[in-house]
């Protein structure tokens, strides 16, 4: 099992959710986050006082999948979230040791 963490542009969130649904992913967790990368921030000007806004809003998607779906899911997110411009985000894939469905107590692949 793998945990896929994707940081994407907020307005791409719906596209990513649809793409994941299409390949059979049954649930994701989404968080509104801020961060910086190669896409620089912007400046805001209030009555002559200039503030550089370094941290830009992004959507963080966490999805746990079985081994069979990892490549498909990564590909789906990459396609759906791509605009070709700096700031499209990143995908991190990490090993997942255990998953438990709280309601039933199921574990492992059955809990996904």
């Amino acid at each position: 099992m793998k945990l896929i963490t994707a940081i994407v542009k907020p307005f791409k969130l719906d596209d990513v959710r649809e793409a994941l649904s299409d390949i059979g992913v049954s649930g994701v967790t989404v968080t509104e986050v801020k961060g910086f990368g190669r896409q620089k921030g912007h400046t805001e000007l209030y009555r002559g006082a200039e503030y550089v806004v370094d941290f830009l809003p992004k959507a963080k998607i966490e999805v746990a999948v079985g081994e069979s779906l990892v490549d498909l899911a990564v590909e789906a997110i990459t396609k759906a979230a791509n605009t070709g411009k700096i700031g499209d985000g990143k995908i991190f894939v990490t090993n997942l040791e255990q998953v438990v469905r709280i309601r039933t107590g199921e574990t492992g692949d059955e809990a996904l």
Binding site: E44, L45, Y46, R47, G48, A49, Y51, V53
Partner: protein, 496 residues
């Protein structure tokens, strides 16, 4: 975009030049406008030939229901300016952690000044005393009854004194509230209240008395009577300084106190290092709009009568504000690349401030001119002057109210000129528009500005020092970091 903007400005200037050709007509119109305000003088034919030189016998004082209704509505409108208008305008510009502190300061200052006004403020400002302070005869509003009358600007026309008390109360309440913008986000609530008590007593009341106290038009029957009556008026009234709705009394007065305040208190932690950006320009826009609406009560209500001159004041207030909004936004667009909502809101307030002293004497195109100047100069003062001088006037109480007030007070001498479409100054002895001398008027206006700057500056400095010694002005660094809402008031503005 810049090109488009330049074309627009050029067009505006050209049309403005076109209007100025038409202004001699406007002068004639405004002169005739003033005449209906003097019906009592015409209505008394009983003068004997010996009295022809002084044709105005004492008219019977009457209260006009229309005037009364208008001043009542105006009073409510000025309350709308303070709470919620000013509170939201300022509140939106601070960080979220200080939102309630600003709302609370405005709300409580308003209430406190209202009570002080009834206890001794009205008496000290608006009864006869010396040229600087009035008397204590109407403390606790004693002696005022539903039948008491207050003079307007027309002979024989009065309004109930109670509503005059209430109307002037709102002015006394908004002025101290304006000051807090200069040192928002870092001063103790208790220190602010104590300062306001001192400043109201020793700066607001004498300024109001100096500028606005006079015996009323009925006392000006002939040259000798005018001299006697004139000698009882306030210091700046005697100097001939014109201030229709409070350019010196309210705006320069508060602006200077604010400047002194932010110099004495010092800068906010993180000034020019951390982001101190406004937490909600939306709130600021709502506040500015409420101020704009309420200002019709402030300016037009100051006419005390619902007549033709009131209508002129209305139009002036509308046009100057619109012009200043455009001027600020245009200046910002050209100099900084983007027109901002905060700039639009700030420009509107700058225009309102500048037209305040002039609104009863300016013609409509004079108001547009004053607005354009105020919008551009106040933009410069908050973006460049403040940085150059390095003080932290958090919400630009000085940059907008102080500077805008000075532009308005001095500009009044220009736009009041009948040759430039103004109404000129009414001569209550001759019952006609007096000969207008712009240079002499400018000198009178300079007296007003100078007096407000020195008096308010000195009182504010001493009052801040006294408060600092007694309870300390500034909150601790921890409190300032945590925000005044939680630490001073025990609550949070937003639970999201």
């Amino acid at each position: 975009m810049k090109q488009l903007l330049s074309t627009f400005i050029l067009f505006t200037l050209l049309s403005f030049a076109g209007f100025s050709y038409a202004e001699p007509d406007a002068a004639v119109q405004t002169t005739t406008l003033a005449t209906p305000a003097e019906p009592a003088a015409v209505a008394i034919p009983a003068a004997t030939p010996a009295e022809v030189a002084a044709p105005v016998a004492a008219p019977t004082p009457t209260v006009n229901k229309g005037d009364t209704a208008w001043v009542m509505i105006s009073t409510v409108l000025v309350i709308l300016m303070v709470i919620p208008g000013l509170a939201l305008f300022y509140g939106g510009m601070v960080r979220a952690k200080n939102m309630l502190s600003v709302l609370m300061q405005v709300f409580v200052i308003f209430s406190m000044m209202a009570i002080l006004w009834a206890v001794y403020g009205y008496s000290v400002a608006f009864t006869e005393g010396n040229a600087f302070f009035g008397g204590l005869g109407k403390m606790f509003l004693s002696g005022i009854t539903p039948d008491s009358m207050a003079a307007t600007f027309s002979k024989g026309v009065y309004i109930p004194e109670y509503i005059y008390v209430a109307f002037q109360l709102t002015f006394a309440a908004i002025t101290p509230a304006l000051i807090i913008g200069a040192f928002a986000e870092r001063v103790k609530f208790s220190a602010i209240l104590l300062f306001m008590l001192l400043w109201f007593t020793f700066a607001y009341l004498p300024m109001a008395h100096m500028v606005w106290y006079w015996a009323g038009p009925d006392a000006y029957t002939d040259a000798a009577a005018a001299e006697t009556a004139g000698a009882t008026a306030g210091f700046l009234f005697q100097k001939g300084a014109l201030d229709f709705a409070g350019g010196t009394v309210v705006h320069i007065n508060a602006g200077i106190a604010g400047l002194v305040g932010c110099l004495v208190v010092g800068k906010r932690i993180g000034y020019k290092k951390e982001s101190l950006a406004p937490h909600s320009v939306t709130m600021t826009m709502i506040g500015a709009s409420l101020l704009w609406v309420g200002w019709f009560g402030f300016n037009v209500g100051s006419n005390l009568e619902a007549n033709g001159l009131a209508a002129l004041v209305f139009v002036n207030t509308l046009l100057a504000t619109a012009a200043a909004t455009l001027a600020w936004v245009a200046a910002e667009w050209l100099m900084r690349g983007k027109p901002s909502m905060l700039g639009g809101a700030s420009g509107a307030i700058a225009g309102l401030v500048a037209i305040t002293p002039a609104c009863g004497w300016s013609g409509p195109m004079g108001a547009v001119f004053l607005g354009l100047v105020a919008g551009a100069v106040c933009f410069w003062s908050v973006t460049s002057l403040k940085s150059m001088l390095g003080y932290d006037d958090s919400l630009d109480a000085f940059g907008v109210h102080g500077i805008g007030g000075m532009i308005g007070a001095l500009g009044t001498a220009v736009v009041a000129s009948p040759a430039l479409g103004g109404t000129g100054v009414w001569d209550y002895v001759g019952n006609t528009v007096a000969e207008y001398n712009m240079l002499a008027q400018l000198t009178s206006q300079a007296w007003g500005v100078g007096m407000a700057v020195i008096w308010s500056g000195a009182v504010a400095f001493v009052a801040f020092k006294v408060v600092d010694m007694l309870i300390g002005l500034r909150v601790t660094e921890d409190v300032e970091r945590e925000g005044l809402d939680v630490s001073e008031h025990g609550e949070t503005a937003y639970h999201l």
